[in-house]
């Protein structure tokens, strides 16, 4: 391209739409906004950020691609339509839990009780329906209320009393296992017989609805991009070259279109036709989108990052640190209930051990995806991608008929590998391991 040497300065007004005020050229040209320049300039700036240790979900995406290629060679079943749909529903619970945890991980906190919170609330839900014959929507509302109450409780002890979240949620991790046991009764197991709940993970949308969903995603994405551009133009700051918007929409269209095309083919094994996008997928996407919107564009989200980066600075700026901390735990516990819902829908039953094992996988998913345990860095999408990586490992190794022990060892190895890649990129960029 024409101006390859100055990617950060607004030297290419012909490609940036309205050029910034040019009356004070000498000073004006010295402060850019990172929005200027052609596609190539933007790509170069992106590469620079990666070299500076700002890798985001890149290692996880690369891992996902490598694992997919690897397993498709090792097993003839891996790349089938049926397994793809299966993989999505297997991953949904972990994706949801990983996203829930991002809200507290951004603060540099942790919620070890997220898994048992999902288990306890679902035990409550199903026992209320099966034993006490309460209408399921009311029982579900009670389950969500219990989740919100749990988050409020954790938030109180962490944000108000000042106990480390590790300790509070470890205590709750133990306590809720006991509570679940008492709700369910020892050795008991309840079937999930509510059709609407079973449908979440076991039924599919009509084929046309999948395409409509993709159209809506593209429309919303385009709408927001152009809204942002209009606001930037109004404020008189340069926009990124419009080609980037088309590239982004194109990528969504191609990847999303490919996924929906695969899911739209009949994957039934016998006479019945099984086709369409699993119902859980749009639910996850909506929560992912709302959550990302809140984190990127609202005060609550910005303050989560600020507190995770420097809580004292946030406090001095007038941020209500305690209230934000408190609410983060409420959001986490509430989303954990959704994750529990996906879990019982998939499994079809609930026992006293529900949610005991999954929480550390949720943390692993977030970390594999590029969320920092020290706070201040990470996105919901990172946790979702990390969860997919772990789900692909579980799914792929399962197809190879390898023992469960191998699965756990490989997952553990991937987690450490991801953390190592992250740490090395950070050290090489001159940062320290402990900082965000």
């Amino acid at each position: 391209m024409s101006t390859p040497r100055t990617p950060q300065t607004p030297q290419a007004p012909q490609t940036t739409g309205p050029a910034p005020d040019t009356s004070v050229n000498d000073v004006n040209d010295l402060i850019g906004s990172g929005q200027e320049g052609s596609v190539a300039d933007q790509a170069r700036a992106y590469l620079q950020r990666i070299q500076h240790g700002d890798m985001g979900a890149l290692p996880a995406v690369a891992g996902l691609v490598v694992l997919t290629i690897l397993f498709s060679f090792l097993s003839p079943f891996f790349l089938t339509e049926r397994n793809f749909a299966n993989l999505l529903t297997q991953a949904a619970t972990l994706v949801m839990l990983g996203m829930a945890l991002v809200f507290v991980l951004l603060l540099g906190e942790i919620d070890l009780s997220a898994g048992v919170t999902s288990g306890m609330t679902m035990a409550l839900f199903i026992v209320l329906v099966n034993v006490h014959a309460i209408a399921w929507p009311i029982a579900l509302a009670i389950a969500f209320a219990a989740g919100i109450l749990t988050g409020t409780l954790i938030g109180f002890f962490v944000a108000r009393v000042g106990i480390p979240s590790f300790v509070v949620t470890l205590g709750l991790f133990l306590g809720y296992q006991g509570l679940t046991l008492m709700i369910i009764g020892s050795g008991g197991l309840y079937r999930v017989q509510i059709p609407e709940i079973r449908d979440i993970q076991n039924s599919n949308m009509p084929v046309w609805a999948g395409w409509v969903m993709l159209a809506i995603i593209i429309a919303i994405s385009a709408g927001i991009s152009f809204w942002d551009r209009a606001r930037r133009t109004r404020a008189g700051v340069p926009n990124r070259t419009i080609a980037l918007v088309w590239i982004k929409l194109g990528v969504i269209a191609v990847i999303g279109g490919a996924a929906i095309a695969v899911l739209s083919r009949n994957r039934g094994q016998s006479v019945g036709v099984v086709e369409g996008v699993p119902i859980v997928v749009p639910i996850v996407l909506v929560i992912l989108w709302i959550g990302t919107f809140v984190l990127d564009r609202t005060r609550f989200g910005r303050y989560l990052y600020a507190i995770g980066g420097n809580a004292e600075a946030a406090r001095r700026s007038g941020v209500k640190v305690m209230a934000i901390r408190w609410s983060a735990f409420i959001v986490c516990s509430t989303l954990a209930v959704v994750s529990g819902l996906f879990s019982i829908s998939k499994v079809g039953s609930i026992d006293a051990a529900a949610g005991r094992e999954i929480v550390l996988s949720g943390v692993a998913a977030a970390v594999v995806g590029g969320v920092s345990l020290f706070g201040g860095r990470g996105r919901l999408m990172h946790a979702a991608i990390g969860a997919l990586v772990i789900a692909v490992i579980t799914n792929g190794l399962g197809l190879l008929n390898l023992p469960a022990g191998v699965n756990l060892m490989v997952t553990g190895g991937v987690l450490i590998l991801a953390a190592t890649v992250d740490a090395i990129s950070r050290v090489r960029a001159g940062g320290s391991l402990m900082r965000t």
């Binding site: 004006n28 010295l30 402060i31 606001r231 109004r234 700051v237 001095r316 941020v319 201040g376």
Partner: protein, 250 residues
């Protein structure tokens, strides 16, 4: 004499048995730079933390524009137009320059950020301070040098047209050229009618920009001086406690 923008009288603050401020008086005037000097432990930081609302005073009166006000929360201070630039630069490393400058007072439209507007105001502010070292306003603060961070912190205070800006050792970590730039900036702030309180150990800096010099010694204000009617030796004398001003608060 002019009407002070802010006037403290009889301010006390103690931490447990340790009494840090023992009835302090302080005035700052619009358009003037008031230097606050004193040795380590004299209570300078405690005094400004109270003004910022971060660490409320135990007692005493604060008048702003002649009316008594209470400063119990950072929001109280920012509502009055009091902005503090701390020595340890309270910035979030993981956020960019614009996000830091607007932290706690983001511009929103329908509850969501108006990033374009914030970016515009941030770069206008930096430009008005003739900042030449920052490449992009979307740089993360973690990638900035100490001098650049100081600039961002000061720009943050300037951004919302503060009426009283308190600078805590703004030049302590800077090189010669950047110190000069920051002092110019301090002068420019005052010329715009802002009341500036400058805390510094560097008496050369103080004499370069200050109109008034207030000396704090062991939690008490021992001298109110006019910068052009005093000397460096006098100020050092007050700071070290070897000299006592006639008529100053006991």
């Amino acid at each position: 004499m002019d009407v002070p923008l802010i006037e403290l009288s009889g301010v006390v603050k103690s931490f447990g048995p340790v009494s840090v401020l023992k009835g302090v008086e302080l005035k700052a005037f619009p358009g003037k730079v008031t230097a606050l000097v004193g040795d380590n432990g004299a209570g300078k930081s405690t005094l400004i933390k109270g003004l910022a609302g971060v660490q409320p005073y135990d007692g005493g009166e604060v008048r702003f524009d002649g009316a008594p006000v209470s400063l119990h929360h950072p929001r109280d201070a920012s509502r009055l137009g009091i902005e503090v630039v701390y020595q340890d630069l309270a910035l979030c490393d993981n956020l960019d320059i614009v996000q830091n400058m607007f932290l706690g007072r983001e511009e929103t439209e329908f509850g969501t950020f108006d990033e374009g507007l914030m970016e515009k105001e941030a770069s206008d502010t930096l430009r008005s301070l003739s900042v030449r070292t920052v490449k992009s306003v979307r740089q993360k603060v973690s990638s900035l040098s100490g001098g650049q961070r100081q600039t961002v912190a000061i720009a943050r205070a300037v951004l919302k047209k503060a009426r009283l800006v308190i600078l805590d050792e703004p030049t302590a970590a800077l090189g010669v050229a950047q110190t000069e730039q920051v002092l110019n900036l301090v002068r420019r702030l005052a010329d715009q009618g802002v009341a500036v309180i400058l805390i510094s150990h560097n008496l050369a800096d103080v004499f370069e920009v200050a109109d008034h010099i207030d000396v704090l010694y062991l939690g008490q204000m021992v001298a109110h001086l006019d910068a052009d009617q005093t000397s460096r030796d006098d100020v050092v004398g007050y700071i070290t406690g070897t000299k006592v001003q006639q008529g100053a608060s006991a």
